[in-house]
Symmetry: C2
Subunit: 383 residues, 2 copies
């Protein structure tokens, strides 16, 4: 009930038959105010899904009354018909809630290239009942209804000084920098202007979701929305931003732990960088290597493959003076073998530290290994 | 015997015990002239193996008398000791052949982070016998001795006007743009200056090896060397470049077909691009997607995943007007579903055509699918 743990919000989640399994697939989060200030960030993919094409220009005014989300169909690459479906859905929500359709954020997640008449009618006809059932107890149902190949719901909650932040997320693959196949709705009652919410959200996502790289793939539908009811206290922007970053990092770790087919959660920390950007660039280069990721699946502390990836990064460092540790064992010092790799003990979490020995900046990238299960889940025509 | 099918060259391949299997692991190609003009291109990885550090500055004068290549050990990230090993090897070859050590090109391929006293002594002590056994019949032995996880030797041969081009290659993984884990030695008797050889080699590799992307990983050891004995006719540079490009493309296809764990050879052709660079950029973006590559392993013509990757490419196109065909069946037109995906017939080779509908330029990228076998081969600590 995280998104509805925040004063001013009601939510619901139900099944309208989009998923053939009959699982919940339709959710709404409604902001009853007094304010409806909001901010949102979207995928940077140039090929955007219809809900992103609808929502992105309409949230730029910082006003969102309701977010409507379906799972089971991404409504992506479905042409004008698909955009019209999104528009009709937004209007149905506007009618049911009593607001302007331009203040309705629409999100879809699921299969790409699908979504015809049947999908449209399930959405449009499902809206009135969904909105009617929305309540301050509906957060968990909503969190469940946005899932696709996720195995568990992802929720987070944090208390600030006189306000609360609640959040729900979905995503279990295609988690890459510049967002992922990820839908996140964050609610708060903190009194903040749209500009403050926007700054806080961009800062928080840059250090959390943007540092996830599950399989290097970038989705067409990613949306992270932050809605404020203003029913709580005026918030200190710095405190709020720090708390929001914690919430987003918590969700990012939950997403990574549930990544499709992953057997290990991997944290790649790059230290000794000239700049934080360099540290992020090096971490991403390593996190994208299938050779590194398959080695991790086999619990092989293959620092040679790590350095081969470092060498492809557009960052400043001395190739002759790189250190690499796996789970605290420094298997490579000054670009040469050091401690015995057999000393490395493996568990579910693997930490790789790469010291560039060139500066003071650092950053951590979250990724996972590349397993047989990943291939199995993603090589099926049904996925 | 391709490299020795060219007048002026002798070669040999033998085992000196670097590979625990006892398979051939040491090769030499010697240019007996009259000229020893040469050109070479190397990995763009900043973290370079010791043989690359030795060879790159020493081939910039366009003179190479002999190439010495070992498999089974990359001599990479092995510090000053490793560089000294390379240097001692070059000097041993110089002594045996009767030339300057600076005219000896050294290549190593195999495991990274290994190569101690035992490796060094096997190389240095093995050189005299290897050089002595070199003959005009030794090409095939040499081609076999440079292999690592390759399942077959790769050779190519072409006849120009009054001259021949012969070549051998190894590489079966880490095949990415800007070269791959790839060692290629090309011989010719065409009379060409070092500058002509350099221009021809850069042009040929840009359109062949640089358009391979097996697993997105870039090696530390890649070397492509072109040696000219000048024993044949003066060559027309344009004809020679065209022929060399054919030879390199032939080898690139052989490398892709033997990529680790691949079940499908994939050719991604991007048409209708504003520029050839744009076409290459889009093709590479698609070829790097694990979601596309796992779909291909499952023979799923998942054009949605293809377009999701196109959308991440830094190229000019209209996201609403993209066409995708699999094996000639246009499953997507104008960024929406078109022909029935069930019509696509799959075989070992899969061709994907992406029409950006924005210009006249095109390019083809060669890649392969992502299979269980890839994970198996690369998750073993021994690989």
């Amino acid at each position: 009930m995280s998104v509805t743990a925040v004063p001013g919000f009601r939510a619901a989640g139900t099944s309208v038959g989009i998923k053939p399994t009959g699982k919940k697939d339709f959710a709404v989060v409604i902001n009853d105010g007094p304010s409806m200030n909001a901010a949102a960030v979207y995928t940077s993919n140039k090929c955007k899904a219809n809900p992103v094409k609808w929502s992105q220009p309409r949230t730029s005014d910082g006003q969102v009354r309701a977010a409507i989300i379906n799972s089971g169909c991404a409504n992506c690459f479905t042409g004008d018909f698909g955009f019209e479906t999104t528009k009709l859905t937004a209007h149905a929500v506007a009618d049911a809630v009593g607001c302007n359709a331009d203040d309705v954020l629409v999100c879809s997640t699921g299969l790409i290239g699908t979504g015809g008449e049947d999908f449209r009618s399930r959405l449009v006809e499902g809206v009135p009942g969904l909105v009617e059932s929305a309540s301050a107890e509906g957060g968990s149902d909503a969190a469940e209804a946005i899932l696709t190949t996720d195995s568990v719901s992802k929720e987070a909650l944090a208390e600030g000084t006189g306000y609360t932040i609640g959040a729900m997320a979905k995503g279990a693959g295609m988690l890459a920098p510049s967002l992922a196949t990820m839908i996140v709705v964050i609610t708060t009652d903190a009194k903040l202007s749209p500009e403050q919410l926007d700054r806080a959200l961009r800062s928080a996502t840059a250090k959390s979701f943007d540092r996830l790289d599950s399989d290097g793939c970038q989705s067409t539908n990613d949306t992270v929305a932050l809605l404020s009811s203003g029913a709580g206290a005026e918030a200190d922007e710095a405190e709020f931003t720090a708390l929001l970053t914690e919430v987003c990092t918590d969700l990012a770790r939950q997403l990574m732990a549930d990544a499709e087919g992953a057997a290990h959660d991997v944290e790649i920390t790059v230290t000794g960088a000239v700049s934080e950007d360099d540290a992020v660039e090096v971490g991403r280069a390593v996190s994208r290597s299938n050779l590194v990721k398959t080695a991790l699946a086999g619990e092989d502390p293959n620092w040679g493959r790590v350095l081969a990836q470092v060498g492809t990064a557009d960052a400043k460092f001395d190739p002759e003076n790189l250190d690499v540790s796996f789970n605290g064992v420094q298997v490579c010092r000054a670009t040469a073998p050091h401690e015995d790799a057999a000393k490395v003990k493996f568990g579910r979490t693997i930490t790789i530290e790469i010291n560039l020995n060139s500066g003071q900046a650092e950053a951590t990238i979250f990724t996972n290994d590349l397993t047989h299960e990943y291939v199995t889940e993603n090589s099926s025509a049904a996925s």
